[in-house]
């Protein structure tokens, strides 16, 4: 049987008609006329007819070509979805027409073209996809766009956004956006985040950023610098936070007024360029008490290793030997901190000094994930050890604060 077929079933005394949805482990899921799904034994349902597919003519969407052009690049994060109440299926929408139909106000903001280099759950994103994504964005920038909006699942959005920061120089905003609550629900944050992301893409910005709810309310979106943003909550709408700097801009909702912070990189301040070399053999590991040196043995094939150490950037003395060995064998090791906030300093305690002596690079105040992505990129650009160290400790795309500002 196919989803949508009409079937008879008898959940109680009375026989009743329903729509076949699916089956699993001997249980068929049937949607009753009341709209409820129920699970009944597969042997208890009887086919009575194929689906009656109602042909729906959706109103055509007209785009106003006199408005600025924006590019929407979908990677699998859902900003628009559609519910088939007949079968209960939720499908995500990614072409311009479908997105505008779901979020009609978009049509008043711009003229949209869409691209879908790949579709995947954000946890399944691979560094090679960052390269595809960077190329897609670069093409859009090159062909003249007011701004680029990248829709992305939220789990690894910060990694992808950081990766694009390093790979791309952009004169226009490249805004990553997603939603924390599914787009099928009337309360989803997708609409507000998307509208705000278009406002951000239209704003006087010239860097890669993430646009998400700033609070639990539907009032303000924050625009976070891609290299300083982190998902800090599993489920809240305002999960994304800038760490160590304030957001570079905010967008009010529903007014869509953008206020840009002092440190934002402005539109047209950089020439477009793409450097998409990445060394994927890099890892991020978190030190914990009791960690055995054997664990590190497993990382000897890595060209780069980012460690999140404790406090100022420490691992146990017991591990220093194996780290030294890895470095001697050619692995670049960068130290960041589990504290997330604050700067690594390996000059205060003996362990830190020993790590530095072993060749570990202090990752300054870089976020661990940003450090990982940056290390992949740096190793993709050069093999020169001194150059690698220099680049890792230089502020390339706002990932390192030269000084730790009071109050952040």
């Amino acid at each position: 049987m196919k989803a949508g077929d009409r079937v008879l079933c008898s959940p109680g005394r009375e026989e009743t008609e329903g729509i076949y949805i699916t089956e699993r482990d001997g249980i068929a899921v049937v949607k009753l006329k009341s709209g409820y799904n129920i699970g009944v034994a597969v042997s208890d349902i009887q086919f009575i007819g194929t689906s009656i597919q109602e042909v729906v003519s959706s109103a055509p969407v007209t785009q106003d070509t006199s408005l600025p052009t924006f590019s929407i690049i979908s990677t699998g994060g859902t900003i628009a979805s559609r519910v088939d109440y007949r079968t209960g299926a939720v499908t995500s929408q990614s072409n311009a027409e479908e997105i505008i139909r779901a979020i009609p106000r978009l049509a008043t903001l711009g003229h949209f073209r869409t691209k879908q280099p790949f579709t995947t759950l954000s946890e399944n994103i691979q560094p090679s996809m960052w390269v595809d994504l960077a190329r897609s964005v670069y093409e859009e920038i090159s062909s003249g766009t007011r701004g680029v909006i990248v829709t992305h699942g939220t789990d690894t959005m910060a990694y992808s956004a950081a990766a694009l920061s390093f790979m791309l120089d952009t004169p226009v905003p490249v805004i990553f956006v997603g939603s924390q609550r599914s787009a099928d629900r009337p309360s989803s944050d997708n609409v507000m985040n998307t509208l705000c992301s278009v406002a951000a893409a239209d704003a006087n910005l010239g860097e890669v950023a993430v646009c998400m709810h700033a609070t639990a309310n539907d009032d303000i979106c924050a625009i976070h610098r891609a290299t300083r943003v982190r998902k800090m909550h599993t489920s809240r709408r305002d999960a994304f936070q800038s760490i160590g700097i304030p957001p570079i801009a905010t967008v009010s909702y529903p007014e869509l007024e953008v206020s840009t912070g002092r440190d934002a990189v402005l539109r047209s301040s950089r020439e477009p360029s793409l450097s998409d070399g990445l060394e994927e053999r890099c890892c991020l590991i978190s030190f914990h008490p009791g960690m055995s040196p054997e664990i590190f043995e497993g990382y000897h094939t890595c060209r780069g290793l980012v460690i999140t150490g404790t406090g100022l950037g420490h691992i146990s003395t017991e591990l220093i030997g194996i780290v030294r060995k890895l470095i001697e064998e050619g692995t670049t090791v960068v130290m960041t901190t589990q504290c997330l906030k604050g700067r690594v300093c390996n000059r205060v305690y003996d362990t830190g000094r020993d790590l530095m002596a072993a060749g570990v690079i202090e990752g300054e105040d870089m976020l661990p994930e940003t450090a990982l992505v940056k290390l992949m990129w740096v190793l993709g650009q050069t093999d020169d050890q001194d150059e690698i160290k220099k680049l890792m400790q230089a502020n390339l795309k706002g990932e390192i604060n030269r000084r730790s500002v009071h109050g952040l």
């Binding site: 959940p11 109680g12 005394r13 009375e14 249980i27 899921v29 009753l32 006329k33 009341s34 709209g35 409820y36 799904n37 129920i38 699970g39 009944v40 034994a41 109602e54 729906v56 003519s57 959706s58 979805s81 559609r82 519910v83 088939d84 109440y85 007949r86 209960g88 299926a89 939720v90 499908t91 139909r101 779901a102 924390q180 609550r181 599914s182 787009a183 099928d184 629900r185 009337p186 309360s187 989803s188 609409v191 507000m192 639990a216 309310n217 539907d218 009032d219 599993t234 489920s235 809240r236 709408r237 529903p254």
Partner: protein, 609 residues
């Protein structure tokens, strides 16, 4: 009214909150709070999502016409799931068990695998924009012959504080929804079935009690009429009135339809702007209106003002529709001149609209957007009147009439709650349920076992103090004493204004134990309870009525009083009992059982005679 001839069919949906420890899909307590206790507020927009059918559900679309910005009050007893900022927990097993118990009491068949659904509701009462609901069992019987179609377990909605502000304390409390077949044919029958199902629910001892914890929606139709759902009937005794008034409404609307069809009425596509006609009006509403739009209903004169239900005219129905666009209501020429609108203004209006005496002109006012939206809905309602009766969800008005809320929800408003896994209902789960004694059976048992009057026994069994009664009897206190105190004394005191509701159960039991043991006089109970209700602690309250008399104390007092009245007693004989009893009681009232006093006194008088 001859309901059978009219073809009355009625069904009910009963919504009952369950008294679980935690909410249905989160781990918050199921307690209601005062809004003063709120610790924060969140602000959200809700929007209808487009369905595959290319249409937004018609009820959802209706709600979209109104403001969609909402505020929610949060408490230390609400959580991120209530905020729609965290995925739901698995379904509360305690709530499921209670639901299965109710299903079993109603001889229903449980669904083999339960799927939680999202039912679209964008009136703001759910932060998500949908209500989580699951069909648990089907096909049961209530009483002798009313068929129960289904029992669903769902989330209670947030409580509305004001228009667009809701309180999250109530959101997510488990709620069972029991739907009967449209198998009732008289208003009284509807009440009886509702009462029976209510009794079944309370028999579990695990449902919430008190105002707002149970709500009835009544579905009513007559032949040629339409299915109408009337929401929020809280009082059982109002049900027959609601049903009867709805039948009346449908009968009258059908008569209006026949009348209008016979007259060959006409309805325009849109209204015309008449704002200028009222530039110097005395009507305060029209004076401040930015835009006034009128439409002529040709041939409608007299029909719009016709009463269809006590206090409701056909015009009230149009007005309900218009209000959905944010206007305050409508004016129509069947009721004008009035409300500050003069005869001259009406004449000018009729002239502008080319309306004759047989026609009715309807006026709406507001912002240009509101007024044009409102007039179109008024015309839509007028057109529907020619067809018959539109299917609607209506809300009950205080006396039993009803007002339009929204179109009856279409079927296209449910899809799976993917965050909650399907749940198997196994034979063991169902077999493991021990059915509670029905309250009706319990009442009969009390009457039989404790020799309590049947009416009192019923009162006990159906009361929310039932558990306390049981505990009292279990600890060995005489059932009659417990019953009289809980259902007599305490109620009388409350009626007299003593707030006994706050006295802890434990203290009431302690007091009854002492009365039963003889250390506190039964007669002293009202005074002690009153004193306790007034704020004294229990021991102080007991002390305030004085120490209990022993029988020998009593004999001494009686002896003294009888001696003082020796001659009087000799003279009057046994007839002296009454007057002397009065004198004795004056000294001992409330401190010893009156029956004992009478016995001692009788004996004492006998000795003299």
């Amino acid at each position: 009214m001859d309901y059978e001839a009219l073809g009355l069919k009625a069904g009910i949906e009963i919504h009952q909150q369950l008294n679980t420890e935690e909410k249905l899909f989160c781990r918050c307590p199921t307690v209601l709070r005062n809004i003063e206790e709120r610790n924060g507020e969140i602000q959200r927009y809700l929007r209808a999502t487009v369905s595959e059918m290319g249409t937004i559900d018609r009820a959802a679309e209706e709600e979209m016409k109104q403001m969609r910005f909402f505020r929610y009050y949060t408490y230390d007893s609400t959580c991120l799931i209530d905020d729609d900022d965290e995925p739901p927990t698995p379904m509360n097993p305690e709530a499921l068990e209670i639901t299965l118990t109710i299903a079993k009491l109603l001889s229903m068949t449980p669904i083999r695998q339960v799927h939680t659904m999202r039912k679209m509701v964008i009136d703001g009462s759910n932060t998500t924009g949908f209500q989580r609901t699951a069909l648990i069992a089907v096909d049961g019987i209530a009483g002798s012959n009313c068929q129960i179609e289904s029992i669903c377990l769902e989330e209670e909605a947030a409580q509305r504080v004001t228009d667009a502000t809701f309180s999250l304390d109530r959101l997510g409390i488990p709620l069972v929804e029991i739907t009967t077949a449209p198998c009732m044919h008289t208003p009284e029958e509807v009440r009886e079935v509702a009462a029976y199902i209510g009794m079944i629910l309370r028999s579990t001892g695990r449902v919430k009690r008190g105002l707002g914890t149970i709500r009835q929606d009544v579905n009513i139709s007559i032949r040629e009429g339409a299915r109408i759902e009337i929401k929020g009937v809280q009082e059982l005794d109002l049900i027959p009135e609601v049903v009867s008034r709805e039948v009346q409404r449908q009968v009258n609307l059908l008569a209006i339809r026949d009348d209008l069809v016979r007259r060959g009425v006409e309805i325009p596509e849109d209204g015309i702007d008449v704002t200028d006609l009222f530039s110097s009006t005395k009507s305060s509403i029209l004076k401040k209106a930015e835009c006034i739009i009128a439409a002529t209903l040709t041939g409608f004169a007299g029909s719009v003002g016709r009463e269809i239900q006590p206090g409701r005219r056909f015009g009230s129905e149009m007005s309900d529709y218009a209000k959905k666009c944010g206007v305050g209501g409508i004016f129509h020429t069947d009721e004008l001149p009035a409300y500050g609108i003069t005869e001259e203004e009406v004449a000018a209006l009729r002239e502008r609209c080319s309306a004759g005496q047989d026609d009715c002109v309807v006026l709406v006012s507001g912002s240009p957007g509101q007024a044009s939206c409102a007039i179109r809905l008024v015309l839509k309602r007028a057109r529907a009147a020619l067809e018959g009766i539109p299917e609607e969800t209506r809300k009950m008005l205080p006396e039993g009439s009803s007002a339009y809320m929204r179109p009856l929800p279409g079927p296209a408003r449910m899809y799976p709650e993917t965050d909650v896994l399907p749940l198997q209902i196994t034979d063991d789960m169902v077999a493991g349920i021990t059915l509670p004694e029905l309250l009706s059976e319990r009442a009969a048992r009390y009457s039989r076992m404790y020799g309590i009057d049947e009416a009192v026994a019923r009162q006990i069994a159906y009361s929310d103090r039932l558990a306390l009664f049981e505990r009292g009897v279990e600890t060995g206190i005489k059932p009659a004493l417990v019953a009289r105190t809980l259902f007599g004394t305490l109620r009388e005191l409350s009626r007299d204004g003593a707030d006994c509701g706050e006295i802890p159960d434990e203290e009431i039991l302690e007091l009854l134990r002492r009365v039963d043991g003889g250390s506190v006089a039964k007669e002293a109970l009202p005074n002690i309870l009153r004193s306790r209700a007034g704020g004294a602690d229990l021991e102080a309250a007991i002390a305030s009525v004085g120490p209990v008399f022993s029988v020998s104390d009593l004999e001494e007092i009686v002896g003294r009083i009888v001696n003082e009245r020796h001659d009087f007693i000799r003279e009057r004989g046994n007839a002296a009992l009454g007057p002397v009893m009065g004198v004795v009681m004056k000294e001992v009232r409330g401190r010893i059982d009156g029956q004992i006093v009478a016995d001692v006194l009788k004996r004492s008088i006998k000795e003299i005679l």
